[in-house]
């Protein structure tokens, strides 16, 4: 784990985190189903999922504010399931910042050091160090109430890393900030993660944020993990119909199995026939397909089965709404450079990109 420009003596690698069958119920309601997940040391892992999918609950169990109904949690080699929050030594950035309003910025950041019995001089040195990391050297004497939202968020970050925890938790830390500040702080958090080599568990429901920041993303749904993978893999090879629809824009289409053999599946969609290299399925059965709008192409064809319903110019590309022969709709993104737009009403033939189509049966990917 690189020490970067932080100073070699202070660098300490992050610790791995392991959820071993951790579940959480509130009464009869199961918020988190038995969860098995390994976060590698120094990894940036994001929890991504719709509201109520159990992201915060999972994070709170890691921080010690919720007690798991079942299962164990490990940080490094230590089982911390029964360790009180104060002795877990994990940094946490709360969505609401949770800065102490009666303490100055310096006192806020020094608080965890004070709790660990460091001398005044050591406290001041460490506070100065992290204030520099987050770029707030001149604000140490202010009270949180005298700072902007973005500055407060940085103080919260500084306070969470000043005691060099091996794991840093963040629950939607940027959701209250405007777009510009957000992307600025995103790169700052990435830089700090890189420099400190700390393990980060990050909760967000902003997929772009998860995509750009994470080493791996854990997509959650209804208290279960839908898929854990690197951003690219998640986008191009979703294992699950839900993930395909949740991450980025996707056309979801119903297709009927026309013919099936070993690793070839002939399907019928909207009057067209396509062949996918996937496992055998019962003939006449239903399959769900997902295909990204930027992966589909089409060409004008008076005998084509599809018609252009609408065209929208979106700067670098055009967005076509096509009506397929069976009445289904298909969104296509096409480069807008050079070519003339195909007018609404024109008949076209869709060029299905067999290699880019994911097929699902009962929600699970067939490939």
């Amino acid at each position: 784990m690189g020490a970067g420009d932080i100073g070699t003596t202070r660098s300490r690698a992050g610790s791995p985190v392991r959820f071993a069958g951790v579940s959480k119920s509130f009464g009869s309601f199961v918020a988190v189903h038995p969860l098995v997940l390994d976060v590698k040391e120094g990894e940036f892992m994001s929890f991504l999922g719709p509201s109520g999918s159990g992201k915060t609950t999972t994070l709170m169990m890691l921080a010690g504010f919720e007690e798991p109904t079942d299962g164990r949690i490990y940080i490094g080699h230590q089982d911390i399931t029964a360790v009180p929050p104060a002795r877990r030594n994990v940094g946490m950035v709360f969505q609401s910042y949770a800065l102490f309003p009666h303490m100055t910025v310096e006192q806020n950041i020094a608080f965890p050091l004070r709790m660990r019995g460091l001398s005044k001089a050591e406290q001041m040195r460490e506070v100065g160090r992290v204030l520099e990391i987050v770029g707030l050297e001149r604000f140490g004497r202010r009270f949180p109430g005298q700072l902007s939202g973005g500055q407060q968020q940085r103080v919260a970050l500084a306070r969470a890393i000043v005691f060099q925890p091996p794991v840093l938790l963040m629950d939607e830390p940027l959701s209250a900030l405007d777009k510009y500040l957000r992307s600025h702080l995103q790169s700052e958090i990435r830089r700090i993660h890189r420099d400190l080599g700390i393990t980060v568990v990050y909760v967000t429901h902003d997929q772009d944020e998860a995509m750009t920041m994470s080493d791996r993303i854990c997509v959650m749904r209804d208290g279960r993990i839908a898929q854990v993978d690197a951003p690219e893999a998640l986008y191009s090879r979703p294992q699950d119909e839900f993930v395909a629809g949740f991450l980025g824009e996707s056309n979801m289409l119903d297709a009927v199995v026309a013919f099936s053999a070993e690793r070839t599946l002939q399907l019928e969609i909207g009057g067209d026939r396509i062949v996918l290299p996937v496992a055998r399925q019962p003939a006449g059965g239903q399959v769900r397909l997902s295909v990204r709008p930027e992966h589909v192409a089409f060409h004008p064809d008076p005998a084509g089965g599809a018609t252009v319903a609408d065209v929208t110019y979106v700067g670098d590309h055009r967005r076509y709404d096509l009506r397929l022969a069976d009445g289904g709709m298909l969104i296509v993104k096409a480069q807008s450079t050079g070519a003339e737009p195909v007018p609404p009403g024109a008949r076209v033939t869709v060029d299905w990109p067999a290699a880019q189509i994911r097929a699902f049966s009962e929600g699970t990917a067939l490939q």
Binding site: F65, M92, F100, P101, G145, Q146, Q152
Partner: protein, 276 residues
């Protein structure tokens, strides 16, 4: 009329009139009286050339300080318990604090006379348990004054502290724990400082109210437990209106100075009030 409706200031007009006639005018009259003829301030000279007056001011201030400290010492743990316990227990306790609040001070003071008397409930109980052999004199002592006043003033301390404790964001407690603070440290570094506005507000209320206390010390206190209000009443009984006005004015000044001093401290909360 339309204009009037848009500016709700006129709604306070009846109250303003009431206060003007029944409060402000008498106060002005009292202030004028206390200055004496030709601004000689003769009544002040008369009042404060007597050792008794100075002594009573001192006694009153001392009672007010002690009562404030005692009330705070009893109210803070109670408010903290109410703020952290379950909803039902909190309701019951709050009701117990408030019910005496709705009873007249006079009646409560009589109740203490019954309780603390030579043959009262407290003496009876202590003798029954064998702690004492002969009845202890409790009524008409300074002790009785403290008991009676603390009882009367407790709600004024409990309520502001409770409301400032309840206003503390639970996430701050979670944050402190996450940063390594055990229960004691959370209490000392987060709960106590953030409930200070309530402590100060309660203390000012109790202190200022104590300065003007009359009924309780008069009924349950001893001969030496003279308060400024009793002194004023005594002068009024003697028809020495000017001296009474002078003493009352002095009490008013002490009260206002207290409020101003506390006001300074409390305004500090503005600085960090904006963070939430």
């Amino acid at each position: 009329m339309n204009r009037l409706l848009r500016d709700p200031a006129f709604l306070v007009l009846p109250l303003a009139l009431f206060l003007l006639v029944f409060y402000l005018l008498p106060v002005v009259q009292m202030l004028l009286r206390s200055t004496g003829a030709d601004w000689s301030f003769r009544p002040f000279v008369d009042a404060f050339s007597s050792e008794v007056t100075l002594k009573v001011f001192w006694l009153t201030a001392r009672i007010a300080v002690i009562v404030t400290v005692l009330t705070l010492a009893l109210a803070y743990p109670l408010a903290y318990f109410i703020a952290t316990t379950g909803e039902r227990t909190a309701m019951v306790l709050l009701a117990l604090v408030l019910v005496p609040f709705w009873t007249s001070i006079l009646i409560r003071s009589y109740a203490w006379m019954v309780l603390l008397g030579q043959n009262g409930v407290v003496n009876g109980f202590l003798r029954w348990t064998g702690v004492i052999d002969a009845p202890v004199r409790m009524l008409n002592t300074t002790f009785a004054v403290y008991v009676g006043m603390v009882h009367v003033l407790l709600p004024f301390m409990v309520l502001p502290i409770l409301s400032s404790l309840k206003a503390i964001d639970g996430r701050l407690v979670a944050a402190a724990e996450n940063l390594g603070a055990g229960p004691g440290a959370v209490f000392r570094h987060v709960i106590v400082p953030l409930s200070m506005p309530g402590v100060l507000a309660g203390s000012v209320l109790v202190f200022v109210l104590s300065l003007g206390f009359y009924i309780t010390p008069a009924l349950v206190g001893g001969p030496s437990d003279m308060t400024v209000s009793m002194l004023i009443a005594g002068e009024v009984d003697l028809y020495r209106w000017d001296v009474a006005s002078a003493i009352a004015t002095a009490l008013l000044i002490v009260t206002l100075v207290t409020l101003a001093l506390f006001g300074r401290v409390v305004s500090l909360e503005r600085i960090f009030g904006g963070a939430r």
